[in-house]
């Protein structure tokens, strides 16, 4: 009797240790996978780093046939597309953040628009690109004709508009959260002095949430830099440095999407992987900084 008792306990203890270690192991595995991802793309980029070196960042021509791998056109394309998308999206993100976080925090309108924003985030990138090709491109083409610029239809401008729609949900959810974190005593103090809601927003809410709003915009920049499908379908895929915001261009992500499966030769493939490495490093840094700001903000 005694013996079976201890045996059972031992069995239990074994299960216990097995379970706890299993949990810790799965957590550890995630970190290892992430590290392996980084090491893999770093190692696969080495042939390109050796062969091209620093000219990867300032070389103006991308001609794989001639072994020219200058990434500057795509670096510029990526930056302009993402920044333009951010500029378009910021007023909307802050407005929706105020709408959901200050004006209508409860009730039907709040639930309704919260669901709308969630659905905007749920629509896949490829669908945005597809609808953009058949709805937005003809519209932009008409606009370009009336502005007397070459009417490509596709290009940086078109891609940025779609991109701005796609990043709005990410910044809105953060901006809404930080606006709701403003202590109500601060707002009430201002109201009791006779401030209007406009003055409370301008003098209390926005200054208080400045760092949080910045973090929200930073995180949506991280999204925009790596966004692939919609941009690939709408940016026009040109290998030269864009002359205007209506010109076709290419982002780093869209070059990878277009050329990866057709890349022949080690340096070519490696150069594309190096672009992936660059995207990985930049988005990771942006993400970590953004999350850190948010964390500090919520503790305050």
């Amino acid at each position: 009797m005694q013996l079976t008792g201890t045996k059972q306990i031992r069995k239990l203890q074994f299960g216990e240790i097995f379970f706890r270690n299993g949990l810790a192991l799965s957590a550890l595995a995630l970190g290892i996978i992430l590290l392996a991802i980084f090491i893999t793309i770093l190692v696969a980029s080495i042939p390109s780093i050796k062969a091209i070196g620093i000219s990867f960042f300032y070389g103006k021509t991308w001609n794989p046939v001639e072994n020219d791998f200058g990434g500057l056109p795509f670096l510029i394309g990526t930056l302009i597309t993402s920044l333009l998308a951010l500029i378009i999206s910021i007023p909307f993100s802050i407005a929706v953040g105020l709408f959901l976080g200050e004006y209508f925090t409860k009730g039907f309108l709040s639930v309704f628009f919260k669901n709308i924003i969630e659905l905007l985030a749920a629509i896949p990138s490829v669908i945005y690109g597809f609808v953009g090709m058949f709805v937005l491109v003809p519209f932009v083409r008409d606009l370009e004709t009336s502005l007397n610029v070459p009417p490509y239809g596709v290009g940086i401008f078109t891609a940025s508009i779609i991109l701005s729609i796609m990043v709005i949900p990410y910044s809105v959810s953060l901006i809404r959260q930080v606006i709701m974190l403003v202590p109500s005593s601060y707002k009430e103090a201002a109201y009791s002095l006779g401030a209007t809601r406009y003055e409370v927003i301008k003098n209390v809410i926005l200054p208080y949430t400045r760092s949080g709003i910045f973090a929200g915009i930073l995180l949506s920049l991280g999204r925009a830099l790596g966004e692939t499908m919609a941009v690939t379908m709408l940016i026009g895929n040109s290998q030269i440095i864009p002359k205007s915001i209506f010109a076709p261009s290419n982002t780093m992500a869209s070059v990878i999407a277009n050329e990866f499966t057709e890349a022949t030769g080690d340096v070519y493939l490696s150069a594309l992987v190096e672009m992936g490495l660059f995207l990985f490093v930049v988005t990771t840094i942006i993400n970590v900084i953004g999350r850190q700001i948010i964390k500090r903000f919520s503790i305050n």
Binding site: L28, L30, A95, G226
Partner: protein, 296 residues
């Protein structure tokens, strides 16, 4: 009081009234602006849904669902291969990601203060931020290159990585809300720790975990970029997971950028099915949250 004093009083009060009026107008203006911009944000969603439904419904028919795509020039092809492919690729990804993600989530909520938990949480954030195309490159290098062929399995693994953050986060956040007293009550009755977790804590938080899983599936159902160099696509029906396989988002992409009207028609139909599937999953999440809400 002289007349002059009276006059200056009057002008002062109108000055003040005008000031109040301006402040009021500014207040109204900001509110209208906020409402206007918020309403504008809903327009793209309505436009996307409108076009997908309008062009998509006419493309849908029984033969569209049950047939293979036809070559250019012939009308009436279908997307059967992509439907089967998507189901297999998503299914395998979910089977791998759910137990893995839930156990990481349990670890994060149970051992909150450890160093490992800190680094794991950071890893989850970083993983969530990695561009999907980079995940595609990595899985290509890991699996496609070593096995020598594009395969559905490699696509599933890429999607597993895309799905993990949402499962981990929702598990962790739900379990955090469950009061310690529940766990302590179970432990004080002599229930072993692992049974407490599996039979008391996890069932109590099932709604949040389930909604995280469904949202994760909705997210990967439309992911295209990580499949470009992994599952690759296939014009025929294939159920061998070690071979290239078609999937809905790949079909939409490939047909959308083609110059043929018949193929655009197929893409609209496929987009309609994908959108309906995603909307359905989102509604399901809402229902799951309502039905088994964590209440303490």
């Amino acid at each position: 009081m002289s007349l002059d004093d009276k006059l200056s009083n009057v002008s002062q009060s109108t000055d003040m009234e005008r000031g109040i009026l301006i402040r009021k107008y500014k207040n109204i203006f900001l509110k209208s602006l906020v409402i206007f911009l918020t309403v504008v944000v809903t327009l793209p969603l309505l436009l996307v849904l409108f076009y997908i439904f309008k062009r998509g419904i006419s493309a849908i028919s029984w033969s569209f669902l049950m047939n293979l795509p036809k070559p250019v020039g012939e009308t009436g092809g279908g997307i059967f291969n992509a439907l089967i492919g998507s189901a297999i690729i998503i299914g395998i990804a979910a089977v791998i990601a759910i137990p893995f993600g839930v156990s990481i989530g349990v670890y994060l909520s149970e051992f909150r203060k450890t160093k490992l938990a800190y680094w794991t949480l950071l890893s989850v954030d970083v993983l969530q931020g990695i561009p999907s195309i980079v995940i595609g490159i990595v899985i290509y290098l890991w699996i496609v290159k070593t096995m020598g062929s594009f395969s559905a399995l490699s696509g599933s693994i890429a999607l597993t990585l895309m799905m993990l953050p949402s499962i981990i986060k929702s598990t962790e956040e739900t379990l955090k809300l469950i009061p310690d007293t529940l766990k302590e009550a179970s432990l004080s009755l002599g229930v072993p720790y692992y049974r407490t977790i599996l039979k008391v804590i996890l069932p109590a938080g099932i709604s949040g975990i389930l909604s995280g899983v469904i949202l994760g599936i909705a997210r990967i159902a439309g992911e295209t970029a990580p499949l470009l160099f992994t599952a690759f696509g296939n014009p025929f029906t294939n159920t061998n997971i070690l071979k290239p396989m078609a999937s809905l988002p790949l079909v939409i992409f490939n047909y959308a950028i083609s110059p043929y009207d018949e193929w655009h028609e197929l893409a609209w139909g496929a987009a309609f099915i994908l959108i309906v599937f995603i909307l359905l999953l989102n509604t399901l999440t809402k229902l799951a949250e309502k039905k088994w809400k964590v209440q303490f």
